[in-house]
Amino acid sequence: MIAPYLEIAVLVLGITILMCETFAANIDKKTFAYAGIVGLVAVLIASFFLAGSPTQHVGAFWSFYTADALSIFFKRFMLVTTIIVLLMMIDYAPAIRKSEQRASHLGEFFSLPLLTCAGLMYLVSAIDFVFIFVSLELVTISFFVLVSFPRRNPIALEAGIKYLILGALSTAFLVYGITWIFGVTGETNLQKITAAFASGKIDNYAATFGAVLVLVGLGFKIAAVPFQIWVPDVYQGAPTPITAFLSVGSKAAGFVVLLRVLQPFLILPNIERLIVLIALLTVVYGNLAALPQTNLKRLLAYSSIAHAGYLLIGVACFDGRAVTFYLAAYLLMTLLSFAILVIVAQQTGEEISNFDGLAKRAPFLAFAMLVAMASLAGLPFTAGFFGKFFIFVSAVAQQQTALVVVGIVTVACGFYYYLKVVRAMYWPARNASLSVAGGQPSPNNNAIAVSTLSRAVIILLIAATILFGVYPQPILNALKH
């Protein structure tokens, strides 16, 4: 079996579920989600039995699609992300039902992530600007629908509009950049562009202009400063599983594309400095803006900007391995925190104060959140620490003093806002005396029910976070083939 079959399988799965939604309206909608999960797990397993990409017979297809170790790793990454997002959606479905007043469209809600997943899988394999553009559109358009899915909810609609307009704008930048590069080199394939750039027979100003435009377009996708304005509102307004999907899947794909297009771009003058500058701005902005947040979802949005900054430090040091490991760790801890947020938000809300005393109400969820926050902050024995460690090692090796110094200060900021959540869960509640005096049990005091499936997923994510925090070698090995 060869790699492209994986995407085809995912696409067929998504379309089939969409058809079933239309023609078999009486099926319980959750069945679609379970079908999607089972299908994706099958594809994930199949991905371990791949034949490599053909080396001699290079047709047109293989000039824009690659199945190297990086892309195979990230295809699995996207599959795992989508599976967990679908599981979160099952927990989230009641909220959609409530806002829609009828259970319709849930099938679409469950099938669109599959199409997004296929797009993401194409994106990490794309080595041609045209293909990058097409698969990016597949991803973005399905996200437009998903973000504003609870359409009676004005906040979600606002988020959808913002995402739509800024997404379209960034696409325009990307396409414009691609045209400039095509104009300069006459190529869309990244390898040929690299060769053309390296030949020295091109107009450097025009090429740099095109490269900067492409970087702007990608900057929107990975939420780098100054293209991050949309992130907090969209993340907060979108349904929580979609937020998780956006912040993990979309961002990871953006970074893979960034790593691939930087190959040619770094030949151009000043691009490296530009990346360093963007990385600096992104870590500083993400971490500082996260400090005063009181809404956990918004906090996670800013934290995702901050993490994009750390990832950009890795990109600025050309360390693909460190970036990949960081993204894998980011997947685990971000999905873990969103999974808990989905469950807790059903009962109380998304504010940090809604987590007050969670350790009493739901010790398991509180512990899981503690692990997620410790990992996001970068405490040792969690995957997040190894991520930061590798990034810092390469920054020190490249003697990027500014990045290291700013990185350290912002990591300390990060401890503050992540521990704010820990504080809310474990420290004695701020209004404890009030609720006792009132004599009424506040809604915050009820235990929270966690379905067996979600519990299993959360346990798996915790285990993986700690395992890769102690033994990172499997992820490093996966990139070596």
Binding site: F381, F392, A397, I408, A412, W427, Y471
Partner: protein
Amino acid sequence: MLLFLVLCPIVAAILILAGTSARLTALIAAAANLFVTLLVFVQFDRVAGGFQFVTSFVVSTDWRIQFALGVDGLSLLMLLLATTVTLAAVWFADKIDNYERAFYACLLFISAGAIGAFASIDLFFFYAFHELALIPTFLLIGIWGTGDRVRAAWKITIYLTLGSFVLLIGLILLYQSLPPPERSFDIRALQEAIAVHPIAAPEQRHIYLLLLIGFGVLISLFPFHSWAPEAYASAPPSAAMLHAGVLKKFGLYGLLRLATPMLPEGAHFWMYLVAVLLLGNIIYIGLVTVAQKQLDWMLGYSSVMHMGYIFLGIASANILGATGAAALIFAHGLSIALLFAIAGQIRNRTGTLAFAELGGLAKAMPFAGLAFGFATFAAIGLPGFANFASEVMIFFGAIRNGWSMERFHLFQIATVLALWGVVISTVYMLRAYRSIFWGATSERWSKIVDLRASLRIPIALLIAGLLWFGFFPQTLVQMVEPTFRTYFTATK
């Protein structure tokens, strides 16, 4: 055996969270740990030297990180300190009102972090284990603290995070200062590699400065000390015992372990800076301590002040001084734990630790008075206590550094000034002792009862340790000295 030492508290903490009897499990785990450490102590081969009882698992072949445990004389000393104080701290944690399980689990996690850091011979885990204690400390102060606990908890957490990330960069630089094929996080391999390719002098200076700042924050070296008194004043007594007695010593241990053998040039270059900073600890913080009006704050500041002596021993860069520093780490750990334990008991009974309100408690609490007296004399450094033996070694070591018959050099002046620190600590310790335990007994405190019989055991344990090593310091010195002998002969 070392693996048991690290895993035992973690497993016990998990068991406690899972539902076994909290206090009993914690006590058993702490006692088992002390017992195993004593076994290691007995079986440790003093003649052979080097790291013994080594266990290792490879974690990352790409980065040459391995999970390796082992002890030499120095780390064995630290393990003895850690397990002894853990047992005393767990024993002293009584009457926990809410989240009793979490309290004991946090204590055990801090203990596991300290033990893991001292027993690791891989820099990565050396660092990682220390960080393991960060969140438990945050929770201990935040949930069970007194006074301005919110501020104290944030302050210690942010300070220690910043310090440890500076330290991390220092460690990464140390790793990268070697040629690529030699790079390793294993302390033994690093030492061998550095013996062959010494690190260039300018690089040593950078790395030493980073390590000094990083470890300095963790140790509460002046001027990075302001988190310590506040945190110790707010923390529950058991947490203060463990943190001030054991965890804070991590930085000193790190400097002895890394900076002394690997960065002699850097240490020499920053000698003046270190001397000034440690005098800041001894003289300035000493005077601040005299000005305190509450026992908990006074103890917090005094623990900052005493770090200055240990620094003096480390900076004196000879076997005598370094051995004295190691011995004082141990002695100070025991005596400060004792003081915090008794202070906690007093606070439990009176609800205050202000000198102005207390007085004449010796009548109501004769045993506590006696124990506090012992601890006071130990902290001052009266002969017969381990503190005296180690401070003498430090002073002799320091005055020998750069000694010439013509005139005093830096370290002679520093020693003279540091000796005045002993007078300062006499002033504040005796004053505290007098105003709490002696004088007229006010009516308010007449109904107070003395320590329970069971709580006298850990106190006796700590005092016995102080006295034993006060009269027989050679038992410690013999153990530690070979490590420093190899360090200092290798660098010359």
